[in-house]
Structures are given as C-alpha cells and as structure tokens.
Amino acid sequence: MTALTNPLTPVADQSATNKSRSLWQEAMRRLIRNRGALTGGIIIILLVLTAIFADIIAPYTFEKQSLLNANAVPTWITRLFPSLKPYAVINEQYPIGADKLGRDLFSRIIYGTRVSLAVAFIGPVISLIIGVIYGSISGFFGGRVDNIMMRVVDVLYAFPGLLFIILLMAFFRTTFAQPDEGTFAYYLGQLDSKFGGLLFIMIGIGLTGWETQARLTRGQVLSVREKEYIEAARSIGATNGRIMFRHILPNILGPLIVLETLSIPGYIYTEAFLSFIGLGVNPPTPSWGSMISDGSRALRSYPNQALFPALALAATMFAFNFLGDGLRDALEPRLRGTQE
C-alpha cells in the first residue's frame, strides 16, 4: 500500500539503479515492499512446498484408516473444546484428531493442499488461454466478428455459473464413468480417476471462468490497437500474428495477470464447494471442501473436524487475495485507490 507514498524511500537506492530499471523490475520492487502481498506470497510458497513434500511432512497417508481410533482427539483438543471430554477417544498420535474413519486429519489437510493448489494454478491457465485467445481475436479484428463474439460472452454471463458447473460436473461424472474400453471417453475417464477426479473440475472451472478474462482482453486490445507503435510495426510489414504476440500481448499482460490472480480464490472456492456437495474429488482423495462437509455433520460432537480444514481453506484464500491486491497496486499504480 505504501510503495509510492512512502516518504522513507532511500535516496541512495534510487540513484544507484537509476535508469536500468524495467517496468517489471519496478513492479517487483513495489510488490516486495507491500507487506500484505509479501505475507501472502510467503504463505503461498509454504503451501506449494507443503504440497510437494506432503509425503514427507504428513505422519500418515491420507487414506490410512484405523477404526479403533475413529474420531480420536489428542488431549489439547479436549482442553480447547471441553465438551468433548466425556466421550472422546484420546489418542496423542493424531496432532489435531482423526475423522470418523480414523484417518489422521492433519495428514489429510496436508494432502488437501495438493488439490487446492492444483486448482489454483491450473484453473487460471485454462481460463487465461481461452479468454486471451477469444478476447484478442474479438478485439483485434473488431467489427462484425467482435460483435458476434461479444454477444456470445453476454449469453454466458446470463448463466447462473455455479448451477451450470454442477450440471457440467454431473455430465462429466456419469458420461466418463464406465464407457467402453479403448474409446476416447474411456481414456479421459481413466486420466480423471488418476487425478482423483480433479481433471473434470479443472475443465469445468476453465469452461465457466473465461468470460471476464475475454472481456478484459478485448478492451485492452481495442485500446492498444490504435497506438502509434502498432501502426509502425504494421508499416514495416509485420504480420497479424507477429503484431499480436510481439507488440500487443506484452503490453496488456499486466491487467490480465492481476485479474487472474484475483480470481484464483474463486477457483479454489469452487472446487471446495463442489467437493462440499459431493460433486468434487473422488474419495478418498482429501479435499478441504469434502472435509468441511464431513466435519459439519459432526459439528455438535467433534467441532475440530470441520474447524481445521475450514481454517486451511480461509488462510489459502487470504494469501491469494493479499497477493492479488499487491500485484494490482504494483502493476497498475495508476489504479491504486481509484478502482475496486
């Protein structure tokens, strides 16, 4: 927040790197000086490390059951929730308790980062690719093409997104469940079950999330298209593709990245919600959403089972929101304080 208004900017620092600072370096510098964004970034790096090294960090696997220890809790949980004391099975081996099948909650939360982060990183890639290609074609060619393409986007805006994604998930789940061996659908279904059901979630999110991106890209392309340097490039005989990729895209990248980062919490939430209502990942793959759903059913007796995955989900969304806000301030200092 304080990057430009901070009067404490060291003068020596400015003169040392006077001219050679590119736009991106400048943005990076502003980003690092933003405490919220920095914290968000560090949390995200930690989450990525957790996801990569889940096998080492987690004391158990996510699917190891021990029915003798169903709903077991360690002592400190009974101190936190005294109502548990009379009936809970005490077992110190589970850091924050076990679920109703005796699976370690902590390990499942650790493995759950994989699902949330996969959605957080692959969802944006899908929607970015579709949205940017669509939006730039629309903006670049303009006229009737633009008109038709934007009407299509308008129609998609009228779709109640969440309901549509639920319908889409039902379609994927049943169509690709048991098709004949050797068909394309079969391999897609196999691939999806390899990913624990994540593939279709990402396709669903990608298919429903690109409209905003397409609109923004189109607007940006329209405004950049008339600039002198595009005219200059065209006058020396650059092809449409070259103008698009070398001259227009790099200049509109900033707002696209900002929008995409700010929409990541939405993607994470969509996956969690789908898993919450049972249309997300396949059990026993752990997702924070399905853990919250299981936990809410035992809310009265074992509040710890819903609380911890809920905190993990909220913390992750916080981190991405902080980073997104910081990125916006860093990449578009003009917009700071003037836009939502």
Binding site: A158, P160, L163, F171, T175, L299, A310, L313, Q339
Partner: protein, 351 residues
C-alpha cells in the same frame, strides 16, 4: 429510453432462449433417465411412464413444447384443475374464459408436485434470504467504505479494508459451519438450521409475521451471505469516495464555508454512490447464486435444496425451471441496474 428498454428486453428473450437450449442439451446429454432405478422396472411400465411424460417424443419436439408451455399464454373455457399437467403460474378469469400462462411442468421425482409448486413454496424463502442479505451487505458495506475513505491511510482505513479482505476471503462453507457451531451449538442463542416462515406467504413472497421467531432463523445465514458482498461494496464505496473527494466542486463547497458534514453528505456521497450502483447487478447475481450455497450449508428449504438432487434424479423440468429462474433474475437485475444508472447520471445516454 423506452426504445432502449424494449430492445434490451427483446435481447433478453434471445439470451434466455439460448440458456434454455444449452441447459436442455446438457441435461439430456447426461446418461440415464428419470425412471432408472436400482431395481429395474419392467420395460412396459418404463415405456408407459415415459409416454405419460412425453419423454418418447423426439428431443426437439420436447424442447419446443416445453418452451411453448412456459411462454405462450393459453385461453380456454376450462377452469384450473388440480392435475399436475394443468398447473399454471398465472390464472386469470376473463368472463367465461381462463387465461393460463407459464406451466413449468410436473416434477418427475415427487409425483404430486409440479415445478410451480416448488416455485411457490421454495422461491419465497430464497427471495427473503437474498433480500435480508442484501440489506445487511449495504448496511455494513457502505459505512465501512465511507469511513475508510474519510480516514484514508489512517487506522480506520486499515481496519475497514482488513474487514473487507476478510469478507472476500472467508467463504460461506467456512464461515457458515463456524458460526453455526459458535451461536447454534456452543452458545445456543440461535437455531443452527431451518427457516422461520412457512407457506402461505403474503403476496406470494413475504413472511406473514416479522417477529424475532422469524428473524432468529435468518440472522446467521443472511449475515454469512451478506458479509461477502459487503466487502465488495465497501471497497467500491471507498475507491469512489476517494476519487470524488478530490474533485473541484468539493473544494468549492469547502471554500464557501459549508460544514464538513454537509460537504460529505450532500456533495460527496451523492456523487460517490453512482458507481456503487453498477456493482449491485453483479452483486445481486452473486447473492442469487449465493443463496444456493447458503441454503445447503444452513439446511434452508429454498430453491437450492432441490437443485442438486434434481440433477441426480434427472428431474428434467426441475433442472430447467431452476436454471431458467436464476437466469431471469440475472438478466433482469442487470437491466434494472443499467436503467437506474442512466437515471442517476444524466451524462449517460443510451442509443
């Protein structure tokens, strides 16, 4: 202006037609039918049931007969009956004739109910939840945004924006269970689930009594739903207020010696709230689909309750009806916002 609204309404019909088409195709693309059970029915019974609901017609016939039943009003001499295929939302008596309009069809899953029954009993609940949540969102969001803007870069600003970022980061499925646990289970101040009003509703939408017995059910879900939107309102109000406060006419107002309170209320706020109106469209959309999530978390008997089960039941009319209803809400609210925006800001002209 009238021309513009008419054109938009026409365009809206096209959009809804496409939404209906895509939903229809997708829903029939899901394998299985409404009468597939674990225990297989004898083929004759299966065929008979499908014939009864006209599921043996070609798909395009089914689609267009559905559309005509929903959109084209009928005029008959037959008074409305209790049959499930004769349930219209609008029944007008004109002399000897009855004008019947909007038949969303029967529900396959529950034999004696129609989609219109679901609309009559569940939609008002969703509507009430959405309205209370919208009120909460505005009541929390606007003062928060104004407070932040007036104390720009001081601690109230940081507090306000902290609350705002909390609002967008803590989703319903996180905040919902936590609040249910604290207020419903631990303190037992509020009922953890359910809704305080039952049909019949006043004017078809509103609860018959507005007592604490009604509101105690609404407090938690409406807060959870409204809180996220209040964050969006707060951020936008703040940004817009910050911009307005630097305008020349504010300086003029101050220079002529107006009290600060007057400057803020009369001059700044009025202009700052115009862009905020634009967000109400997307916000309303968010609330509409948000009610759906909130209803699932809090076990509220609204529209959302039937949607997920209707998909697994292949209850085609319920799926179509619910999606179309939500879509109508979305496009109508967008249109309404554009109109309000044009009347608030005379510089905007549509042609």
């Amino acid at each position: 202006m009238t021309n513009y609204i008419l054109r938009r309404l026409l365009y809206m019909l096209v959009v809804l037609f496409v939404v209906a088409g895509i939903t229809f195709i997708l829903m029939h693309a899901v394998p299985g039918g409404p009468f597939d059970r674990e225990k297989k029915l004898p083929p004759e019974i299966q065929a008979n049931k499908e014939k009864y609901y006209h599921l043996d017609d070609p798909l395009y016939v089914q689609f267009f007969s559905y559309l005509s039943r929903v959109t084209i009003p009928r005029i008959t001499t037959i008074a409305p009956t209790l049959r499930t295929d004769d349930d219209y939302l609008v029944n007008l008596k004109m002399g000897d004739y009855w004008l019947k309009w909007m038949n969303f069809g029967p529900s396959y899953a529950s034999r004696n109910r129609t989609v219109n029954d679901i609309f009559r009993e569940q939609l008002p609940v969703s509507f009430q939840l959405g309205m209370i949540a919208l009120t909460i969102a505005v009541v929390i969001g606007m003062p928060l945004g104004i407070m932040s803007a007036l104390n720009h870069n001081r601690w109230p600003d940081y507090v306000g924006m902290g609350v705002a970022i909390f609002g967008v980061s803590v989703p319903t499925i996180v905040l919902g269970p936590i609040l249910i646990w604290v207020f419903g289970v631990l303190l037992q101040w509020l009922p953890p689930t359910g809704w305080g009003a039952k049909p019949p509703f006043v004017l078809g939408l509103f609860p018959s009594s507005l007592t604490w017995d009604y509101f105690k059910y609404a407090v938690l879900p409406a807060f959870v739903l409204g809180f996220g939107s209040s964050a969006v309102i707060a951020r936008l109000t703040r940004a817009s207020m910050l911009q307005v406060i630097r305008e020349d006419y504010i300086r003029t107002a101050r220079a002529k010696g107006l009290r600060e309170q007057m400057v803020i209320m009369r001059h700044a706020l009025k202009n700052a709230l115009i862009p905020v109106v634009t967000i109400v469209g997307p916000l309303f959309a968010g609330l509409v689909t948000g009610t759906f999530v909130t209803e699932l978390v809090f076990g509220i008997p609204g529209l959302g309750k039937y949607f997920v089960t209707s998909i697994s039941n292949r209850d085609y009319p319920v799926i179509m009806g619910t999606i179309l209803l939500y879509a109508v809400f979305l496009v109508l609210s967008n249109l309404l916002v554009d109109i309000i925006y044009a009347t608030l800001d005379p510089r905007i002209r549509y042609n």
